[in-house]
């Protein structure tokens, strides 16, 4: 029997989602910053518009500042805060180094908030830290029973963003297979997810409801 309570399972799932969100958003912000400089100053507006968020800025640096620190609920620092909060709650289930790295990233952003002049180099170092966090998870075998929950969140988040931002069904279908395998691992009665709809909205609803509709309602 896997000794993980519903609350802890949910926190692990959301931690996976927020770490993945931090990673995807960091990559997107770096990429969009380049596009603002080279192609179209409105690229940042278009990016956030896909997520239903209104963003205005007067120069590329302000775009960075707002994406990283200022956007309520959608900033990078907000995703990192949430990842860390879930890590605090599930700390007794996490590899020590993984927790320390998440907390160190949180502290780095809290310090940067006080003097928020950040560069793309600085953001790239965030990616390295996120790589290390995932690496800690993959290298830890002792805490293996927790991994599927975190992975489930990670993949659900990646699918969500791939569909939402890139409208990439191919990437989503590639992840779908992994997600279904994890679902079976967590719950024998897991109902396999299929993505047949052509409506983006319907697909997103399915992906985001999957954890609560299958893993948890089975209890």
């Amino acid at each position: 029997m896997i000794l993980i309570s519903p609350q802890t399972a949910e926190n692990l799932y959301w931690m996976g989602r927020y770490i993945q969100r931090s990673e995807t958003m960091t990559r997107l912000v770096i990429h969009t910053f380049d596009k603002i400089l080279d192609i179209d100053p409105e690229e940042g507006v278009k990016l956030y518009d896909k997520m239903g968020i209104e963003l205005t800025y007067s120069n590329p640096q302000e775009f960075l500042q707002k994406s990283i620190f200022d956007l309520e609920y959608a900033s990078l620092i907000c995703a990192i805060d949430n990842a860390r909060e879930n890590a605090i709650l599930t700390r007794s289930h996490l590899p020590n180094r993984m927790f320390s790295r998440i907390n160190a990233l949180y502290l780095k952003y809290q310090n940067a908030k006080l003097n928020p002049l950040v560069s793309i180099f600085w953001l790239e170092s965030t990616l390295q830290e996120l790589d290390a966090i995932w690496g800690n998870l993959e290298l830890s075998l002792v805490e293996a029973k927790e991994i599927p929950f975190i992975e489930f969140g990670r993949i659900a988040e990646r699918m969500d963003l791939n569909i939402r931002i890139y409208n990439s069904m191919e990437a989503a279908l590639y992840d779908l297979e992994k997600l279904n395998l994890l679902g079976h691992k967590l719950t024998p009665h897991y109902k396999k997810l299929s993505l047949t709809s052509t409506s983006v909205e319907k697909m997103l609803t399915k992906i985001n409801g999957l954890y609560y509709g299958t893993i948890v309602t089975a209890s």
Binding site: M1, I2, L3, I4, S5, P6, Q7, T8, A9, E10, I88, L89, R91, S92, H93, F99, S100, N103, A104, L107, F149, L186, T187, I215, V216, A218, S219
Partner: protein
């Protein structure tokens, strides 16, 4: 008087003076990265804060530890017998050693748990005994027995893990007793009273000041960290709910919440952090609960006065450790002494904890003193008074490398399983304010590690 200026600290200081101050900063930074926090609630706001600490340890010699070890074992043994007695035949009251009304008037005495047998007759599984070292006479004095949910052990333990990494030379050159087996001792203690099932650390949750500790102890001991909503009672048995609907039977609970909050059916109905009906499981003998329900009567600040008498009564021995000279306002003669000598005494409200309700008579204005006198006359059971003890300072290390002294106490932990084990370490708490005697963490005090030296003989 500064204890750390004694020869006992010479070896430590000799090594310290050759250490690059940058390494001290490494310790600070690591503690931050690890989020070793002791959180506070101030004016209704949750403040996540690191527990201030200092790298200079308290050092306890092998002989001193041997003495404290014997004294604490004796004290815990007697307190456990007292609890067994008070919740059954109450011989100590019948024999007039402690006035019955003194026990019965305490809110911490829970008659609803009379004659409830506990696993292996152990009630005081984990205790924290607060001591100070009196600079007058150079002797240890017990200030308090904490037998409900004493916190703090994880902090010196975490600091020890870290100092071993950053300053290995201390551990190579000085004969420092290892403390790293605490989680193992905790596990053994849980296993000893386990009635069949998994071990659980029950936490009030994320917003409790010691949540770091709960999480740390669960992880290190292999127990499951659970909140009240993770547990459920079915047919007088306790279960952990799992995400997929299955239930895992719980055999032992190291609970980190007070009796009041433990069970909304039995105690405070507004408690959202407890487990409904867990008291029934306990009554039925189907779970080992650490510490037992109702222990508050034994660490009531008034009952503390009678601990030396308990040792004589139950064990027919003289107490090894001394109490601070204490007066009970409950007794007419003592009350008069308190009222007449208030300026020289420290007065404690027995209902308070964490350094709250402690008043130094010399710091009161005339009207405050009068108000307190009126309160003592109106509710004598509520107050005790103690002689002010000039306990030692221990030096702390300033950023510029200077030393500065602060008053410091010592909380020593013991675990009662097959035997009573006094942990060869402890939480040394120090005051932030140079003029203060209040070391409690909830009052902003800091902490140090405690190094017990091994006997070289």
């Amino acid at each position: 008087m500064v204890e750390s200026q004694s020869p006992l600290y010479d070896g430590f200081k000799e090594i310290l003076k050759n250490i690059d101050p940058q390494r001290v900063k490494d310790v600070l930074s690591y503690m931050r990265t690890e989020a070793i926090n002791f959180n506070l609630f101030k004016n209704g706001t949750f403040i996540e804060r690191k527990f201030p600490f200092d790298v200079i340890p308290r050092i306890v010699s092998a002989d001193e530890f041997a003495y404290l070890d014997k004294g604490i074992q004796q004290r815990i043994y007697a307190l456990n017998l007292f609890l067994e007695d008070i919740y059954s035949s109450q011989k100590i009251l019948k024999d007039g050693i402690i006035p019955s009304e003194f026990v019965f008037s305490s809110k911490a005495f829970l008659p609803a748990f009379m004659n409830t047998p506990v696993s292996k007759n152990i009630r005081v599984h984990i205790s924290g005994i607060d001591l100070v070292k009196n600079s007058v006479g150079d002797s240890w004095v017990v200030l308090e027995d904490n037998l409900r949910v004493p916190s703090g052990v994880s902090y010196p333990l975490s600091l020890r893990m870290l100092t071993r990494k950053v300053f290995p030379e201390f551990f190579e050159k000085l004969p420092i007793a290892s403390v790293l087996d605490y989680p193992e001792l905790l596990l053994k203690t849980m296993n000893h009273v386990n009635t069949g099932g998994i071990n659980v650390v029950l936490t009030p949750g994320r917003y409790n000041s010691a949540f770091y500790e709960h999480s740390y102890l669960a992880k290190q001991s292999g127990a499951i960290l659970a909140t009240g909503e993770d547990l459920v009672v079915e047919k007088d048995h306790l279960y952990l709910k799992t995400y997929n609907g299955k239930r895992a039977k719980v055999g032992a609970v190291y609970r980190r919440l007070d009796d009041d909050a433990l069970d909304p059916i039995e105690f405070h109905p507004d408690s959202l952090i407890g487990v409904p009906n867990i008291s029934q499981v306990y009554r039925a003998g189907n779970v080992g609960l650490m510490n037992s329900i109702g222990n508050g009567i034994a660490d009531d600040k008034g009952i503390y006065y009678f601990v030396p008498d308990m040792i004589r009564y139950y064990m027919n021995e003289e107490p090894i450790l001394q109490n601070a000279p204490t007066y009970l306002a409950f007794f007419e003669k003592d009350r008069q002494h308190i009222l007449q000598n208030m300026r020289t005494l420290v007065i404690k409200d027995v209902a308070e904890a964490g350094g709250y309700g402690v008043v130094f008579g010399c710091n009161l204005t005339k009207s405050e003193r009068q108000n307190l006198k009126d309160a003592i006359i109106a509710e004598p059971r509520r107050f005790i008074a103690q002689e002010v003890i000039e306990f030692y300072d221990i030096e702390c290390l300033a950023e510029n490398g200077d030393f500065f002294p602060r008053k410091a106490d010592l909380r020593m932990y013991s675990l009662f399983g097959e035997d009573i084990t006094v942990w060869p370490g402890g939480l040394t708490r120090f005051t932030m304010d140079p003029d203060s005697y209040i070391v409690n963490s909830s009052q902003g005090g800091g902490f140090k590690d405690t190094w017990v030296l091994k006997d070289k003989r």
